[in-house]
């Protein structure tokens, strides 16, 4: 007996699809040769990636001195980018885990791509702290392995070590969650593949999935528990990132609201990135019937919600800085708003607090152009937020003689661009060779959420009746 969904709800799959249509629509692009557009995009991404590799090689050879960071502003561009990328990753886990808990069915259209985005974003994030170590070949020192120095263990009390555990756990669990979900869909591709290499390739990656009832039962149980575990995990990751700052005694960093506010900000920026990617993906792969305006609308609502939470947190911080009566705290916030980096503060306020409020209008929420535009604005805003937190808090030291300014060098910029190259290279490969939409999950909800002529007729009947009754 199926769940009865109200016809009032906007359908999640348009076009009266059958199961076979779902399979074909989503997997067809995998079997064809890539389009010209894909090759252009891929070429650009790889070029960016190579430039990034060049910059990284350059500064690993010459040292961190090639960055714009200085004695006062020891953390600048790199940690800003690290936090920014990590934040972007959070949307994927939120969609697959937390929205599952809240029974938001629209997640099925976007979860697969968002999870992939999570994994790639975490990879981009991870390279920043690792390379900031300077001598990257000594990177394994952070792991608690029995060593010849005592053994001297890493400092378990340091938030930076918590980060090591948090990021690696987050990466591993997201990868496992994503891949176990992908296995049945890879099996679907395997059984449709015509070319030998495709049969071999997808055959190996499908792990021998057959779709047995018992396997599905275990698969469901596994997915539920992984979702349950990922929910606190995603909270913990950005929380621990916020601990890097909040455990300190730097004015503007030490504030107890940081953990939840960082998480909200992460989800906020992550959804913006999902929007950017999804709007491009649905257009390029012609998946408009699966990633509908209703999906875009729902994601924009989350952007408004999390943007408002972030806005509340900004104001809370600002208020409490004044309310605390602590001189340094008050100065830090004055300096953010009116100091030499005022433009980044007001840029952050404009992009993160004001711009998502535009989505109260249903017209803008369902407009492709505005969604795309604001998703970019939000991501710029969230980059500014991390820059504001990190650089403006550090550049005015307790000792005025140490006051300093930060400006990035070409190496800083090249490194950041390189991570874009890495991200888009991986995403384009994924979008070409793997199903960007969870095929089995769409089929699972197709009967209840797919649009049919009967459903449209039912909706019309309800609306007509309501109009007639309410007019009377």
């Amino acid at each position: 007996m199926s769940f009865k969904e109200s016809a009032l709800r906007e359908p999640l799959v348009e076009g009266n699809k059958s199961y076979k249509d779902v399979t074909n629509d989503i997997t067809n692009s995998i079997f064809g040769t890539p389009t010209k557009g894909w090759f252009v995009a891929f070429g650009l991404s790889v070029a960016l990636l190579l430039y990034g590799v060049f910059c990284v090689t350059y500064f690993v050879y010459y040292g961190i001195g090639t960055w714009g960071s200085n004695k006062t502003i020891g953390w600048a561009w790199d940690i800003t980018n690290f936090v920014w990328w990590i934040g972007i990753g959070h949307a994927g886990t939120l969609i697959s885990a937390i929205l599952l808990l809240f029974r938001q069915k629209w997640r099925t259209g976007v979860n697969r791509a968002a999870e992939a985005m999570t994994i790639f974003a975490v990879m981009c994030a991870g390279v920043f702290p690792v390379l900031h170590m300077g001598r990257v070949w000594m990177g394994f020192f952070i792991l608690p392995y029995p060593n010849t120095r005592g053994p001297l263990w890493p400092n378990f009390v340091s938030p930076l070590l918590w980060d090591v555990f948090a990021i690696s756990t987050y990466f591993s669990v997201s990868l496992m969650f994503w891949y176990t979900g992908l296995i049945p869909d890879i099996a679907t591709i395997r059984d449709r593949a015509k070319k030998i290499w495709q049969q071999k390739f997808y055959g190996a990656l499908s792990f021998g999935w057959t779709g047995s009832a018992k396997h599905w039962q275990r698969h469901e149980s596994l997915s539920l528990v992984l979702a349950g575990l990922s929910t606190p995990l995603v909270l913990s990751v950005h929380t621990i990132v916020s601990f890097d700052f909040a455990t300190s005694v730097i004015p503007g960093w030490h504030t107890t609201i940081f953990p939840p506010y960082f998480v909200a900000g992460a989800v906020f920026s992550g959804f913006a990135m999902v929007q950017t990617l999804m709007l491009m993906t649905r257009k390029l792969l012609r998946l408009e019937e699966y990633i509908t305006l209703s999906h875009i609308d729902s994601m924009n609502r989350i952007i408004t919600l999390t943007g408002s939470i972030v806005g509340c947190a900004y104001l809370t911080e600002l208020f409490t800085a004044w309310y605390s009566g602590a001189l340094y705290e008050q100065y830090a916030f004055m300096n953010r708003a009116l100091g030499p980096y005022w433009w980044s503060y007001w840029g952050m306020m404009l992009c993160n607090v004001v711009s998502p409020q535009l989505f109260w209008s249903k017209k803008l929420r369902t407009s492709i152009f505005w969604t795309f535009f604001l998703s970019i604005v939000v991501n710029i805003g969230m980059w500014f937020e991390r820059f504001v937190i990190i650089v403006t808090s550090l550049h005015r030291d307790y000792l005025p003689s140490s006051w300093n300014m930060f400006s990035p060098t070409w190496v800083d910029i090249g490194f950041y661009l390189g991570t874009f190259g890495l991200f888009f290279t991986l995403y384009l490969l994924f979008a070409k060779y793997f199903p960007v939409i969870a095929v089995a999950e769409i089929k699972h909800v197709l009967k209840t959420t797919g649009n049919t002529p009967a459903r449209e007729a039912e909706l019309k009947a309800i609306m007509d009746k309501a109009a007639a009754v309410d007019a009377a």
Binding site: V157, G203, A204, S212, A213, Q217, R218, V225
Partner: protein
């Protein structure tokens, strides 16, 4: 082992399948397995499968992770090599919570995924017999194992009357080997 023979009832709709499976079982017929392209809620109870106990395994793995993390950090910081970090006590439990939590989640997840893979015999490169290629696309396949004593005609009509759109026979010669059909 050697050769095995199956009768396959092909279904096209999950609601028909959910009513058909108990109907077939009521006739005393043992269903070998049902293959579906997507999870169907209620199919496991309809087939009389035991509930999955995977989550219990996950709990045990998780607790193991908790104990390892807490135990190790306690041992390292209070017995093996004491270091004064910022005047905090050697045993600074609030500072151990993040790593403990992460290790709990990591071990629970990795352990469960490994257990799942083992139980379902899934691994990179494994190839298994596929009853019908459409079982990963749009059809649900009810497989019933048969031999020379089975009344195939009767079984076919039972499958058809339970809602199967078509009924096929499938012979697998090299059953002991995993291989794509």
């Amino acid at each position: 082992m050697g050769s095995k023979k199956f009768l396959l009832g092909i279904f096209g709709d999950e609601d028909v399948l959910l009513e058909g499976v108990p109907a077939i079982r009521e006739k005393g017929i043992k269903i070998y397995d049902v293959f579906t392209p997507f999870p169907i809620h209620g199919l496991d109870t309809a087939m009389g499968l035991r509930e999955s106990k995977l989550h219990i395994a996950g709990f045990i793995y998780g607790i193991t992770g908790t104990s390892i993390a807490l135990g190790f950090m306690t041992w390292a910081n209070t017995f093996d090599w004491r270091v004064n970090f910022g005047g905090k006590p050697f045993w600074s439990w609030p500072a151990y919570i993040p790593i403990t939590f992460e290790l709990t989640v990591l071990m629970a997840s990795a352990g469960m995924v490994a257990t799942f893979m083992y139980l379902c015999r899934l691994a990179p490169g494994v190839q298994k017999h596929i009853m019908d290629l459409r079982q990963t696309d749009d059809k649900m396949v009810v497989a019933i194992e048969i031999d020379e004593h089975t009344d195939v005609n009767n079984l076919t009509s039972i499958l058809k009357s339970s809602g199967a759109e078509e009924v096929n026979t499938k012979v697998i010669d090299d059953w002991y080997r995993y291989k794509i059909a």
